[in-house]
Symmetry: D2
Subunit: 456 residues, 4 copies
Amino acid sequence: MSTQTTPEHHLEEAGHAPYSPGTTEWDASSLTERYAEVRGFTEQLASPLSPEDQTVQSMPDVSPTKWHRAHVTWFFETFVLAENEPGFAPFQDQYWFLFNSYYEAVGPRYARPDRGLITRPGAHDVGHYRGNVDTRVGELVATLDERRLNGLTPTIELGFHHEQQHQELLLMDIKHVLSRNPLQPVYAGAPLDRCEPDDVGWVDVTGGLVEIGHRGGGFSFDNELPRHQTWLEPYRLADRLVTNGEWLEFVADGGYERADLWLSDGWNLVKEEGWQAPFYWHSPGNADGVWLEHTLHGTWPVNPGLPVSHVSFYEADAFATWAGKRLPTEAEWEHAVVEDGQADRVVGNLADRETFHPRPASPAPVGSRLRQVYGDCWEWTQSAYHPYPGFQAPAGAIGEYNGKFMSNQMVLRGGCALTPPGHARATYRNFFPHRSRWALTGVRLADGGVPGQVAR
Amino acid sequence: MSTQTTPEHHLEEAGHAPYSPGTTEWDASSLTERYAEVRGFTEQLASPLSPEDQTVQSMPDVSPTKWHRAHVTWFFETFVLAENEPGFAPFQDQYWFLFNSYYEAVGPRYARPDRGLITRPGAHDVGHYRGNVDTRVGELVATLDERRLNGLTPTIELGFHHEQQHQELLLMDIKHVLSRNPLQPVYAGAPLDRCEPDDVGWVDVTGGLVEIGHRGGGFSFDNELPRHQTWLEPYRLADRLVTNGEWLEFVADGGYERADLWLSDGWNLVKEEGWQAPFYWHSPGNADGVWLEHTLHGTWPVNPGLPVSHVSFYEADAFATWAGKRLPTEAEWEHAVVEDGQADRVVGNLADRETFHPRPASPAPVGSRLRQVYGDCWEWTQSAYHPYPGFQAPAGAIGEYNGKFMSNQMVLRGGCALTPPGHARATYRNFFPHRSRWALTGVRLADGGVPGQVAR
Amino acid sequence: MSTQTTPEHHLEEAGHAPYSPGTTEWDASSLTERYAEVRGFTEQLASPLSPEDQTVQSMPDVSPTKWHRAHVTWFFETFVLAENEPGFAPFQDQYWFLFNSYYEAVGPRYARPDRGLITRPGAHDVGHYRGNVDTRVGELVATLDERRLNGLTPTIELGFHHEQQHQELLLMDIKHVLSRNPLQPVYAGAPLDRCEPDDVGWVDVTGGLVEIGHRGGGFSFDNELPRHQTWLEPYRLADRLVTNGEWLEFVADGGYERADLWLSDGWNLVKEEGWQAPFYWHSPGNADGVWLEHTLHGTWPVNPGLPVSHVSFYEADAFATWAGKRLPTEAEWEHAVVEDGQADRVVGNLADRETFHPRPASPAPVGSRLRQVYGDCWEWTQSAYHPYPGFQAPAGAIGEYNGKFMSNQMVLRGGCALTPPGHARATYRNFFPHRSRWALTGVRLADGGVPGQVAR
Amino acid sequence: MSTQTTPEHHLEEAGHAPYSPGTTEWDASSLTERYAEVRGFTEQLASPLSPEDQTVQSMPDVSPTKWHRAHVTWFFETFVLAENEPGFAPFQDQYWFLFNSYYEAVGPRYARPDRGLITRPGAHDVGHYRGNVDTRVGELVATLDERRLNGLTPTIELGFHHEQQHQELLLMDIKHVLSRNPLQPVYAGAPLDRCEPDDVGWVDVTGGLVEIGHRGGGFSFDNELPRHQTWLEPYRLADRLVTNGEWLEFVADGGYERADLWLSDGWNLVKEEGWQAPFYWHSPGNADGVWLEHTLHGTWPVNPGLPVSHVSFYEADAFATWAGKRLPTEAEWEHAVVEDGQADRVVGNLADRETFHPRPASPAPVGSRLRQVYGDCWEWTQSAYHPYPGFQAPAGAIGEYNGKFMSNQMVLRGGCALTPPGHARATYRNFFPHRSRWALTGVRLADGGVPGQVAR
């Protein structure tokens, strides 16, 4: 059986790609404050969930909530405390085994698909574990001298970003868990009023010999490096995401029935898995084109004005073909966003906790043209997730497995409605296997880019 | 993929085989009292388990604890209340779907392997459901006139036996759930002191043209009927179960490495699944013949004086071949136990709640010769689970699927350490697929039975 | 993956069950004559098949024609020549490995599902192998003294019966191979005219304490022994097999759509594998109840007057339930056939080589009442394939694996249109897994047998 | 089950990617001559194979020899004859179904993994089919007027290249078929003398803003278009392929045991499939580092001086990591080869039909520096098989599925020892899934390419 496309490695990888030391100025006080903020937010996200909710793994891609809560804690215990705390001893020996995600060098690991079999420690026990590690990290930060603290700060900062990635995953995962329940449980929030798509606009970009990748200054993961040149023909990008309304047209036009629109691998999945619509859409009685959508705020009629979400790369690509357009490359996306003045906006999402869901396109920021860049859906690109030219894995334990997930996955850019505040940026390279649908993914169309032509 | 040997159907079948109206005298008062007793015992068994413990399904054979608690409640709601309670309305519509086990006529069912995905209703919600149904059943019994109560009594009595079967399964299932946890959790109880096997004795039985099957008078399931004649050559049975000590000899003698001892299907499983010992034995480091056993009271060294448990039919058969003996037929077992004066002992187990585990052989009851008949391990026979001659499915909803599990399974007789008090009898036909190991099964050897010979 | 129901072991087992030395008088001349006859018939059956036809394995149950031709030759080489021929050397070392079917003691085996990957030796090479062994066996028989020849005769006679079983399998297997080809190739023969079922009659049998099993005198396999007593209530058997016409009524009445008719394991297969009719029936366009049937003489409309064939045990059982009847036990079948005066008819089939297919019921033999006993379809019984009481595996190499296939299979009695002449008898116990459909199986109904009643 | 990495689509795709009309001058005479040459070479390659050899499909990736022979014929019948031959009728209706590979628009297709079940038409029948189509194509070419012939010529030329691709695949496939046979059959040829690797040299390339893609003039597939600019940092390439000798060092150094060398998906395959060496290496007895290799000329000790072959992308990548190098991108490969003066060498292989196997590195062509560019092993690159910027699928039937295989595969460049004469060129983009090992693949290392640096 092929394992090439299991997203197993992706999930943790997202947070573990070694960081690039930035220019953010940290001291014990600001570190402690940020630590409390990030760690507290995890618990806030978990708080609507019962012990039963926090235990279940509804498919191998998904991890239980309490596993997420424990794993991010294990990260701090392993990479911050273990080598720095005087007289270190693990909170519980077996946790070392249970909550390691993929670090083979740290020791044997508990099989990922079996995470849902672990009834103990329970949700409450995980709370104890978190509290214990929080106390110890706090004491460590308070007592280290400046030189040692400075040495440790990048790892702690990485821990923040790691935990944020798991916050996003925690929400994607519990969304799937709850989707399997015929009682249609609500996590939180309420639906928006029905709205219609507005007109899409197109943003022209000149291209040429451009640079992409992180500039340094502030945090990045190592897969955003090194900054390097690439050549872009003139192209243009849609100024907003594809909407549910447009997707309904695609469905009505036989989008899921026409082999000619699909990549061959995608078409096989359409047939094998019976795809007829985005992942969380279902048609009660399958009769009359009425579609309901499972969301974190319950099951509701599909709202045509919202961005389509939970589509695979194959669906995104087939839609683009149907629309006579294409997906952007990651370089096109990044360059356009930077040109559009939205490069440095380390914006957050989840601010809109009314819905935990993508929202209709609102006007672009002042001076910008592109809408819905960060806060709605991770955007599929047509770029494989491969190392940048000259990519080098950092030395040391954390960097041990740099880049080991760079095969059989596609890059996504932007951010989504479940991305924690302060986590997204223009150079961020997210990635999922082509077939993934449970992640909060969407589609922005591109056009042009043809050698010897200018964008229409 | 073959489904012939999945034990899915077995579990519920155990309780759903329609009953034979017996001579037990019930009135509203005794029914109410027994109802409280049986229902309360289920909750008592679940009480050591956390919400997380009660949620997990560690393999398709296993059901979550809270599912057992809800399903047996659904049984009373569906078969007792729905057709008799004035103005009946279900407690919750979706429970009708979630907690039906296999009654296709009652409506669509939630897929068995997905029972562990249901986080809601939670363990606490199930308690509410149980309380609601208990109240309503109590009111119904208190208000029905005598004629209608008599008409309903067999169904209520069937509900008692159904719930008892799920009590046994609940314990077998949670044993498996906890076995997957590296923290080695304890359900309850403590180990016995190490002891050695005593000598096995052999009980001679004359046989001839004998009768087997339930005589009527008291409760039975329909698969124990009709009582009928069968011919037995003279044979003999071991007076106790095979012990761990004897099994250790089998292992040491290459029992799991010699193809000549095994049925072909069994040998394939030995190789494919890497069987080296009974299901819950494991050898730390695999080095030196030291075996530990997972039990409901934790993980402890294998105790040689206790009956071997959690072996498949194939292992039981291979052991018998190795020992130069064979397994008894179900007719031999039943006839011998009746002849031995233990036919009518509607004994219970679980009385010994110190260990939740089989115990060493103690002396036979006064006037009897066979030991360990009911309270330690379900005993594999060499009889396929087929209908008795003249077997007829009862009419009506409950009898709809009579006998539908009568293929690809073997009969087991007796009872086990997890069987609730008052549940076992000589004519009881339990059954599992040949390969099942998670049930509390053991081995009693037989000999003789050769045409034209007398037993040695 | 479960292996319990794979018919892998069955195929060879059919021929390898050690024999019971009979009273047949053999000498060098009659042995040589019979050897030529049996061996020649194999080649005759293979002669319409191209090298390509003889190479393919269309599913794991099926073996390639050239493998059958080589394997039965290997049997003589291994069990007759190897221990008796002076200066024995194998024809080709690797053949030892390639053409062993399941004898683990003889050495490692080539994986059964990979038999279709072996392009060499080709069909022509296998002919050379056969000729070589034939010559050597002939020389051995001609040169052994009487004492040694008498000692070897039972093994040679077993080789005859072994080869006959593979003749039957060769035809069942090539039927499946050709069924996968859209060109609808013909093996041989031509269809009969369309005919209608005649009336079924019922034969009453008194039963009581009867004996079944082989009496000795003539050849039998060891699974037919020992002869022993069993108790039968009065019963009756249909005097002919169920017809295609009756099966069409079953289909039209929703036979494959009503869960209540089926054993649970069978119903799961109906749904999983989409069963809608017997194995080789298909409905072009699936529209209007027109059914075609693949046969060895090509694809033709289903003929209502012929016995239904290629149904699984589950289908046979569901049909009997639908008809308000049941399947016979193997004891009922054998006792009735013996009582009917057809016990000793060592009849053959394949005599009717016009069709290589079951034929309409013709009148019973003079003085008998049961029709279609041996020459049309192997008849499913409701008896599991288990050892007879007192069954003992013979000593020695051939008996090494006696009875190792006695689990998860059902007994079939009689014979079929592909059974070679002289191969069937009343005590013969054939067996297949419940789900098998590619074998030439059919259905005879039974009734009565209820304790305390007489047959209607 | 994922289908993303099945090479099913690859095999045909190789030949079906629509062509770019070139400047080659064809007339009826030269077309006829080339047709005879290409078609005859297919039969020449098949001639050492028996009907049995030509029938077997040893895994889903593999097609039977006679299927290849028929499929390439079907291509001419479908795309050349069907729309141009007066009064066209197919040679055999069912062949339309059997020998279509993936053209969904042409009609339903026979399932790829079942190609090995088709015993008829046999190898000889396929010869008839080929002869019939050859005659008809010849007549058509001879009778068309110049305008119509010119219109048809590109399709005929595409048929040549299509057939050549299947010639290569035919050899790769039969190599796998024969590998499964314990008799170790030889296809043809004889081994070279043992030799040692010579020193590897490194070729520096300046890079910059370069162009890649086909220039027009002569044949190309559409995936080589459009020619476009890309930016390359200075880099260097090894002047020869990695050798068996170097791979033996990798194995001896624990190359298949060190997770840190592998991409995560690759490491999972190493464990799941037990990879310990290249695909066709095996170690008899697994004892002492002696490795044998299955080749088309039989099974022989691994020759250290030959290029390593039959390694997956994951193995190539792990080896490069172990060596402190990396794989080239496809742009780096193409640019370097063109710069090296080997761009226009439409060279062939298979010229060396002594071995049907890669050979030791010989000196580079005069004026060139890179060795083993075309004639030994297809070279893995680190580039995903994606459309070039501005790629457009041609209109019409043949172009229907342009680019539909552009996911989950990696580009390989060059050619191999089984590539037919005249088939390779610098811009040719071959592709296989990351895990493929049965294709004749090898490794050329790259270095440098780091932004802001020059190649070492």
